[in-house]
Every structure is written in C-alpha cells, then in structure tokens.
Symmetry: D2
C-alpha cells in the first residue's frame, strides 16, 4: 500500500501539494487554517462547500472528519474535475462534487446541512438566503471574501437573517519566502471570514 500524501492528523496542507489550474483560486494554507477553525465541524457534519475552487476545503475536511459528508459545489466543469482529482490524490472518500450554479443546483441536495461554507458565487446575498433556509438548527454558515462588496453583502444578509453569534476575522499572515539567495517576508493577501449561527 502506498503512503498517503498527507498522513497528519492536523489540518494545514501546504499549498504546493494541491494540483492546481491556472486562474483558479486556492485558499492559502494559513488562511485556510483560520477558515477550518471557524467552520466548527462535528465529526459527522454535513457540509456544503459553495465555490469550492481548487478543493482545498473538501480535502482538508475530508481528512479531518472522515465520517462527515462534504458536498463541493462548483459551476465550472473543469474545476469540478480538479476538485475530484485533488480528493483522489489525498485519498478522500467522503466528498461529492456537484457541478452547477448556486443556489439553483442546491435543490438537488437532499440531506440537510448543518455547516455551510461559502467561498464564492455570483450572488452572495441570494446564495446566503437560500442556504439559510436549508440550514439545520442549530447550524453554522461561514463565508469568506477578500472584497469590500463581499463583506457588505454577507454582513447585510446575516443581519437580515438574524444570524446569531456573528463573528468576523481578517487573516493577515506573513510568510518568510526564499527568493534567490535571500529570504523575505511576503504578505498573504488578507481574507475576511464571517460566521453566523442559526439557533432554535
């Protein structure tokens, strides 16, 4: 039997271990750790990951919570295949990739999610509205954005939906990177992570 690509019990897979496609976003390792912490997954959570991109969250969650069920939603077919390839690479078996546009394509998902991660999407407000209806009680939504418009849309939606325990953190990590023969601190672009809870 071959050795697993990531044999560790802790999240934080280095970015370079993921297969990538040009132009497709990838949550950088350090920001991803913060996002995973904000998801607050149960061992058997049902997670929707909307706008899954490279698939780093499905892979990390798949490894960390092997009894959970992860639905990765991605509108681009090539990107959906990329997520599948990354899941295969890391031997993650509990991720189902759904090709389609949120919120429409979410109709086909039967199981009630208790965790929803929104990493992207055309109409954040509309997606959040739909997700909120489908979310279990208690349930938790975590959304990420690096734009001001995204931050507004998510905050307003949470306010309108009367989300509880809303939390906002902004990651801002510097990494010492080697360039030529010198090492410089490089900043990882900041990401806002906004979480809200649906309570009874």
């Amino acid at each position: 039997m071959s050795e697993p690509v990531w044999a560790y019990a802790t999240p934080g897979i280095p970015d370079r271990l993921f297969e990538r496609l040009p132009g497709i976003p990838l949550s950088k390792c350090e920001a991803r750790l913060l996002l995973i912490g904000n998801l607050r997954l149960y061992p058997q959570s049902i997670l929707w990951d909307i706008g899954a991109g490279t698939g780093t969250i499905p892979v990390e969650v798949g490894l960390l919570c092997p009894q959970s069920q992860v639905f990765a939603i991605e509108r681009d077919e090539d990107v959906a295949k990329l997520i599948e390839r990354n899941c295969q690479k890391f031997a993650v078996g509990n991720v189902e990739v759904i090709v389609g546009s949120a919120p429409e394509c979410l109709e086909q998902l039967q199981a009630t999610p208790d965790r929803i991660c929104i990493e992207g999407g055309r109409s954040l407000g509309e997606i959040l509205d739909y997700c909120w209806q489908r979310l279990a009680i208690p349930g938790r939504v975590t959304a990420t954005t690096s734009s001001l418009e995204g931050l507004y849309a998510i905050s307003e939606s949470f306010a309108k939906l009367q989300a509880r325990n809303v939390e906002v953190v902004q990651s801002a990590v510097n990494r010492l990177e080697t360039r030529g023969n010198r090492q410089s601190f490089a900043a990882i672009n900041p990401m806002f992570i906004i979480s809200g809870e649906k309570l009874g």
Copy 2:
C-alpha cells in the same frame, strides 16, 4: 453524561472557554490555529509542549489526536495546575503535566518525542539544543515567539543544528470586536511561528 465543552472535530477553541490566571499567557485562538497547523501531528505523535502556559495547545492537541501523548512542561506549580484544570474541563485524558524547568526537567521523560512545541522558556537556545538531541528522526520542532530576541535565538539554533525545511510565518489577525454599541477591528498581537525538521 454531560455534554462536552468542545464537541467539534476542528481546532480553534474560543479563548473565553479556557480557565485563565492573571498574567499567564494564552495563545489566542487565531494564532493557535496557525501553530497547530505547523505542528503537523500524527495521530499517535508524542508531543512535548514546553512553556505550556494556560494549556491551550495540550487541550487542542489532546482533543484532535486522542491517541497521541502530550507532555506539558511548565515551571510554575500554579500554572501547571491551571493546565490540569483546563484538561479536565475539556475531558482531555492524554496530557501529562510536568512541573519543572526546561531543559533539566526533560531528563525524566522516557519516551522519544517526534514533535516538540516550544512556547516559552528562559534559555531558548539551550532548550532547543537539548530537545534536538532527544527528538526522533524524522521529527519536527515548532517554536513561537513575539520578540525579536526569541526570533534570533530560534533561527540561529535551527541553523546551527542544521534543521531542514525551516519555515517562518508571522500571524497577524484582526478580529471584529464589540465595544459598547460599536464593532471595531482589533489586531491580535503578531506571533512568529518557526518550524524545523530533523531528518535521517
């Protein structure tokens, strides 16, 4: 049976859930997530946590890797008791608290650690030297510091010990905090996290 304080499969326990003592440092949740990711623990790792403070790392690791063995080293007896109380609060059963000064007190530890976390200590260089000898091959050391002197001492020690795959990240997270009736972004003090590996 009572409900666990932290039933989640993901790390990132909010700071306020830990019992605290005035003046005793606590790794803030966001920086802690970054530190845990850098530890790269195996499910059955043997971890030394030196300068364990409030005990947030022993608790998080204890929950995340219930088959691991964590040795929390702390020189102050009251702080050692605080770590024990926090382990009890979170029902963590695989942490042993050692009261003593590193590196001397590490002599009594028989098992060979494959992971060492250095969160503090009087003589970082001396502690790192001793730890490196005792570290398994392959093994990994992660140290944290918020001071320039600490950053120097650790970097120089890693260079002298010919540590491999040395990585430095600096956390810098902003949290939206409520003060009175307004919410402001507050910065969490930055922490340097330096990791190095001992390879065959």
Copy 3:
C-alpha cells in the same frame, strides 16, 4: 526662546508627546502618517478636521503646512480645550477649534474647504453629505474608521455622491515594544482610511 517640541520637517510625532485625556482617542503615529499622506494637502489648503479628538491631525498639519488654515471640530468642550493645549504645546498658530456637533456647527464656517478629514462623528453619512456640498472643486475628503459600520457608511456615501478616485487603505503596523526586560511586537489596531475626490 525655548526650543520647539517638534523641530522636524517630517510628520510622525510620537504619541507620547501629545497631552492626552483618558478615553479620548488618539490616531497612533503610524496610522496618522498614512492618514496625512492620504489628505494630500496643498501648502495653503483649508482643512476641516471633524472629530478631531486629541488634536494630532491639527498639530501635524499645522506644523507641516504653516500657511494652511485648519478648523478642528469637536463636540466636547473639554476635548476642544485639549486640542487647544496641544496646539499651544507644539506652537501651532493656524488651527481654530470649533466646539459643536457636525454637521450643524459647520454652518458657521465661512471659508470653503478644499480638504476635509472626518475622524469621527455621530452620523457619518449625514456629515459626509453636508461636507460634500461645502467642499471646493477640486476637493478631497478623507475619512477614517475602525468599524465595519463606519466603512459601510463612508463607502456608500462616496458611491452616492459619485466621489472620484476612491481609495481605501487599511493600516496594520506592528511596533516592537519593551515590556519589562523583553521586547515584543505589538500590533496597532487597524484603521481604514477612505478617500474620495470631488472633481469639476
């Protein structure tokens, strides 16, 4: 003749040189430098500084642009006196302190400002609306906030007023501070600085 408190031609007066009152905000030196750069003052600008707090901006601008006219607006009488004391301390002669609530109290100001700095105020949107009417063409408004609500209010107002060349920067500076016998990096709380221009 006594030596001036700040004899330098560059801005960036250390925080400790200002007289302070408990609870009254002070723009930290590093964030203030960024704010001053965003003001883009002419040597003979007429500046309104609304919510002037401790008076750091009036003092810095007064020194940097001795031919400018600065109107510092502050609703609290004790704080207004603090601004005056700080102006005296730094021998700044071109600052007029107006006690009153913006936007009402701005009616009494005759001269047309070409620069407006909004550091605080009860109703940011209303203040911005009024300021925009009074602002010269070309003119520039720079507002600061550390809150999400403030960021929204200012961004929306700028959009509504069709401000041009809108820029947003977020300061996040770490300072090496001495605590006891060790030096640690401490983060200065982040501040958003939003600028917009009124063009012909």
Copy 4:
C-alpha cells in the same frame, strides 16, 4: 510654466507617478510614509540615502525639505540615471546621485550627514559601521529590510554601536485594489523599519 507633478505639501506620492525600471525595487507609498516619518528630518538636514533604488525617498525628501541636501547612493549606473530622471520629473533640485558601492564610495562625500537612510546594500553591517562613524552627533540612522537576515544584521549593528532610542516598526498595509470588475484587499509586503540615534 508647467504645473508640478506633485504640488502637495504632504508626502505619499502614488507609486505609479514614478518612472520605473523592471526589477528595481520601489518603496511602496504606504511603507514609504512610515519610513519618512521615521527619518525625522530637519528642514536643513544632510541625508545619505544608501541603496536608493527608484529614488522615491530622494524625491519625497527633496520636495518636503527643499533646503536639505540629499545624497542618493546607488551602485548601478542605470538605476542612478533612473533616480536622476525621477528627480527631474518632480523638479527636485537638492539631490545629488552618487554612483558607487557603499561603504567605499561614501569616502568622497565631504559633508557630515545628520540623517542616514539605508534601503539596501551588500554588507549591511559594514555599511552601518562606516555610516555610524561619519554620522553627526546628534544624528539618526533609519534602515529598512524585508528579510530576517537584514533585521538581524541591523539590530546587531545597532546594539554593537550602542545606538540609542532604537525603534523597530513593521509596516503591513492592505490596499483595496481593483481587479477586473471587483475590488479586493491586497496586502503590501511587510517592511521592517529600524531606527537608532547617535547621541553626545
């Protein structure tokens, strides 16, 4: 008479206004403001700027302190010409560009500097040693670096030279940038700014 490129009395010239050469570093506007604040120039200071790169500091200082004398030291001839072109573009008349390697080429400079800015150089420690000898009393050196080695070299030199009032700040600014039709916060790479004083 043509209008000046930068008619403002405040520093913080946008990066895009400088002529650039590929691969030649430029202190980003936001970090530059912090650096200028740390220089604490007198109106008639004599400033050495070592490793002047694109020439942003000579230009800003030349404009801010027209009675000062700025010596910009740069080892590459093409880069030296770039500095000269930028000085011409901004109509700065008090900058002399010296082509040569520091510290050797500094011998030819007769006037005693009271301010020295070190933005780069092959051997930071050696440069600092030489500069310190030549520095007026009282005098101030400010050095910038984004690398850990640079930070060490400068800190150690300052300690050895018994520099007083040593200050270290780390800039970390996020800018809202427009990419396509959306605006995202982008981090400006962090820069360490270290200052020390030579007192009587």
